[in-house]
Amino acid sequence: MDFQKYPEITPRRKPLKRLINQVVLFVLGRALQSLSRHDPLIKHEVQGWPEGFTLMLTVRPNGGSMAVSRLPGGVLQYRGARFDEASADVIIYIKNIETAFAMLTGQLGIDMAYAQHAMCARGDLSNTVSVVRVLNIVEAYLFPSLMSRNLMKRLPPIPFARKHLLRIKTYLVGIAFGI
């Protein structure tokens, strides 16, 4: 048998999807930081998380990452794209870059992604449902309602005026400065 006939195949890269995923993860992290200061639904949820609790979302194996920590007072702080896994309390791994892309670009909701085993997680999962509710609320701000409706079972109960004002604020200054 000619062994040379059978090539070794190294995994090809998907730089564009990887870049988009990382950008959206950054947007998500900053939006979490900003909205945790202004949205009462998120404030209420985050109050129930342990102080110092750090949540990390990462695309396996090296497809982008973001982390947020709950600070004293109940607000979230974006901790960047290179947070140390060992220091996170819960790490949610998205199993592959394509699913991550679908999730981060509003094609696949978190509930369905979980139902489809798109994610696995390390750490104490007792706050998982609350975390999902917060992510859904943030998505409801970041995506138009028409899109959000397909991503979650019911849209979060955010009053019309607040949703639009906070959406504008998040896109104008929240994502850029986290305020």
């Binding site: 129930g48 791994y93 509930d111 369905m112 979980y114 139902a115 489809q116 085993h117 994610m119 696995c120 997680a121 390390r122 750490g123 104490d124 999962l125 007792s126 706050n127 998982t128 449902v129 609350s130 999902v132 979650m152 079972k153 019911r154």
Partner: protein, 396 residues
């Protein structure tokens, strides 16, 4: 319609029969093991079930390296860590769980630690992150309800933090589950009824969950059919060996279904009621099941309607018009509840189970944060959970 994507995993060998335990030693030999650690509880020992297990090892050449029968009703990470020490000290090479959910979950935790190393099982908490496979593990269930012998998860309390740790991995499933009718023959009628309703809730919730898939559905179908045909009879006649075996099989199939499709708001409410008011899990499932099905009717009426056939049989199904079948399924669940109440005294409402009205708000608050809520077809909000709790308080 097929889901756009699903996963299904069930690698457990099922050994079912009136004397199925006799083949347990052969299974250990096949797994190339000879010194199992048996994990059990006092209830098993008091009922004489431990002796049935040890008798099965007569002339087998296999030495039970340790028979631990002190697992409490709620397993703990501390006990898991200690049992891993016992496993190593006695140079065990496999695990056998003989008991209900707490015993089986404890054994799953021990298997993680003895297989992967370390001092504290809490280091391995999480979902789908365990490297496997683990050591050969066998389960002999002594209740017909939890289905833990067929599930990929373990819930173990962490006494330091006062929380329940969740471990999810396909590697937690046993190599074999032995369903022997002798092991459930001594279950009192009320416990039989409660565990049977637990299994029914597993099966029905798996069938309507957002993770439902055709293979889980097949397991659900047979589980519901066996429960519908046998639960009343066994509650009336606990010595019915064939009925006992049928319920043990139903429980395992329901466990298989929900291990791959998850449960929903019935379990969220039940876990919360257990946490706040300490009512037994099976009792809570019996109370909440019809209300949970009703809550999901808007999104899952078709699925609920389909369950009428296995639950009530072809005559009832064909005698009910298509648009009434979902309601009829729920009415049949209520009729089963009522019958079990009359036969065994199983509580039908939260009030009958000793829950105070003042506890309902706490139950609702806890329920919306229960992991089961995520796979429920309808989103469970605080106001929904409160309404469910209020209705279940004094309605059947």
């Amino acid at each position: 319609m097929l889901p756009t994507y699903y996963e299904f995993c069930f690698p457990v060998k099922i050994i079912s029969g009136h004397a199925a335990l006799n083949n347990l030693p052969a299974e250990l030999l096949q797994a190339n093991t000879a010194r199992p650690l048996v994990i059990s509880d006092q209830g098993v020992t008091r009922a004489g079930l431990g002796k049935i297990v040890t008798d099965a090892f007569a002339e087998s050449g296999i030495t039970i390296a340790a028979f631990f029968d002190e697992v409490p009703p709620e397993s703990s990470t501390l006990l898991v860590n200690q049992l891993a020490g016992l496993y190593h000290e006695r140079q065990c090479d496999s695990l056998i769980a003989v008991g209900g959910g707490s015993v089986i979950d404890t054994a799953k935790g021990v298997n993680i630690l003895v297989s992967l190393g370390g001092q504290d099982v809490r280091d391995y908490r999480g979902a789908e992150v365990l490297p496997g496979p683990l050591r050969p593990f066998f389960v002999v269930p002594t209740t017909a309800g939890t289905g833990s012998e067929a599930t990929n998860s373990a819930v173990i309390a962490d006494p330091d933090q006062g929380v329940k740790m969740l471990f999810v991995s396909e590697f937690l499933m046993p190599r074999a589950a032995i369903l022997d009718s002798r092991m459930t023959l001594t279950l009192p009628p009320r416990l039989t009824a409660a565990t049977g309703m637990d299994a029914l809730a597993h099966a029905m919730e798996a069938y309507i969950s957002i993770q439902k898939n055709p293979i889980s559905d097949a397991y659900t179908w047979q589980a519901v059919k066996l429960i519908g045909e046998n639960l009343r009879m066994v509650a009336q006649n606990p010595a019915d060996k064939d009925g006992r075996l049928a319920l043990a099989n139903a429980s395992t199939m329901a466990g298989t279904a929900f291990s791959n499709s998850m449960v929903g708001c019935v379990h969220s409410m039940g876990h919360a009621a257990g946490g706040v008011a300490h009512i037994p899990h099976g009792v809570a499932m019996n109370i909440f099941l019809p209300f949970g099905l009703e809550f999901n009717l808007k999104r899952r009426a078709e699925c609920v309607a389909e369950l009428l056939l296995p639950l009530a049989g072809p005559e009832v199904y064909s005698g009910t018009s298509a648009d009434q079948r979902a309601r009829k399924t729920i009415a049949e669940v209520r009729r089963l509840k009522q019958d079990l109440h009359e036969i065994t005294g199983l509580p039908r409402t939260l009030q009958e189970a000793g829950v105070q009205r003042a506890q309902l708000e706490d139950i609702a608050k806890l329920a919306i944060n229960d992991g089961s809520a995520m796979m429920n077809p309808e989103e469970l909000r605080l106001e929904d959970a409160l309404e469910l709790a209020n209705r279940a308080f004094d309605q059947i």
